[in-house]
Symmetry: C2
Subunit: 226 residues, 2 copies
């Protein structure tokens, strides 16, 4: 029982002192990740804006009109990809980071209290059991005729204690498992959102690339003046 | 002819004073883009390293072992995606930016010289034509019997001048077109490389996600202690 008690306490401590701080740290790192993502989006936007401007110049030339069109489509495509990827970033921000932050804050109190309640209840039951066992010993020495009833009482209390301790350990393990699963499910969501983006992005480029290839090959034909 | 001369000169000027500086600027912006990309890779690596550490903790727990495995696989998958995306960044760096930079440097001299050679040759032919036309006028006034031969000479020179001017304009337009096409083809390469990445990334996640889904659902089953 004592082993189980220590094991249960150590799970609560582990959630409070290892998992929760790790989760808070993850939120911090996740916000860095988000900031870096937005910096990249910005750099991409500026780069393809410059491509677009060169495309506009080509549109005004006499013989490079088609090439200007291609450059501008390439710039537009990047804009679409970027705005699509922004949806993934939003999922990461709201569904993961904000949720993880909220949970980690709530857990500080929730887990402390769960641990405390367990300790108090364990103490209460252990004290009661000790008291009854001391009383039983006294009754058996005095050959008290109610000793047998007390013995049954003690055995019942012991068995209830056992059940309480097992159940409490199971509950603590479940709390721990819930938290790992929460993390895994959040990142499953992230990967699924990313997968959807990759599928759409692939489709977007596949719908444009053959035409670009065709037009670029045609632009090498000397009879094509545009 | 004068119109064509101005048009040809303006194309060379446009390449030198607009296209080439725009290309240099693009290289500068592209390097910013690359730096932002590497900062994002780094932030992603740190984030998923933290996920991995939490996964390792779960592996050591009594009931969350499977969830630990999932978290570590999620971390590994990100590592693979990242290293795959690095290939796209390398293509951008070497095949686009470095090549664009090299070309823009070479062009400063190449285009200036092409323009100069055109101006000199045009001047030479124009001066020669003027001289012959002045001579023809003198000969016709003096009723010189060689006037007709000179007239044929002048007509030939005029026609050659016309051909030279048309050909030069066509060449200048072609130089301009080549440069726009170079830019479009470079970005076609980038998009194709990106497309390959999206296809592989999609396959990578699709190969992992069903098993994660299955395992996460199974972890909710109370009879599963791991």
């Amino acid at each position: 029982m004592d082993l189980s008690y220590r094991s249960t306490i150590s799970i609560y401590k582990s959630i409070l002192e290892q998992f929760n701080p790790a989760l808070e740290n993850l939120v911090y790192l996740g916000n860095n990740y988000l900031r870096a993502f937005h910096a990249l989006s910005k750099a991409a936007e500026v780069y393809f804006k410059a491509i677009e401007k060169i495309g506009e110049q080509a549109l005004q030339s006499s013989t490079s009109h088609m090439l200007g069109e291609i450059l501008m489509q390439m710039s537009d495509t990047q804009r679409l990809l970027s705005s699509d990827l922004e949806v993934v970033a939003q999922t990461f921000h709201v569904d993961l980071l904000q949720h993880m932050e909220k949970n980690s804050k709530m857990d500080v109190q929730f887990i402390s209290e769960s641990q405390k309640q367990y300790e108090l209840e364990y103490q209460r039951r252990a004290t009661n059991l000790d008291k009854c066992m001391a009383e039983l010993w006294r009754m058996e020495r005095a050959r008290d005729k109610n000793a047998r009833e007390m013995k049954e009482n003690v055995m019942r209390l012991r068995s209830e204690m056992q059940a309480f301790v097992s159940e409490s350990q199971r509950e603590a393990e479940l709390e721990e498992k819930r938290r790992y699963r929460f993390l895994a499910e959040k990142h499953q969501l992230l990967y699924n959102t990313l997968l959807q983006f990759y599928s759409r992005a692939r489709g977007m480029i596949q719908s444009k690339a053959p035409r670009w290839k065709e037009q670029l090959e045609a632009s090498r034909n000397p009879s094509n003046s545009h």
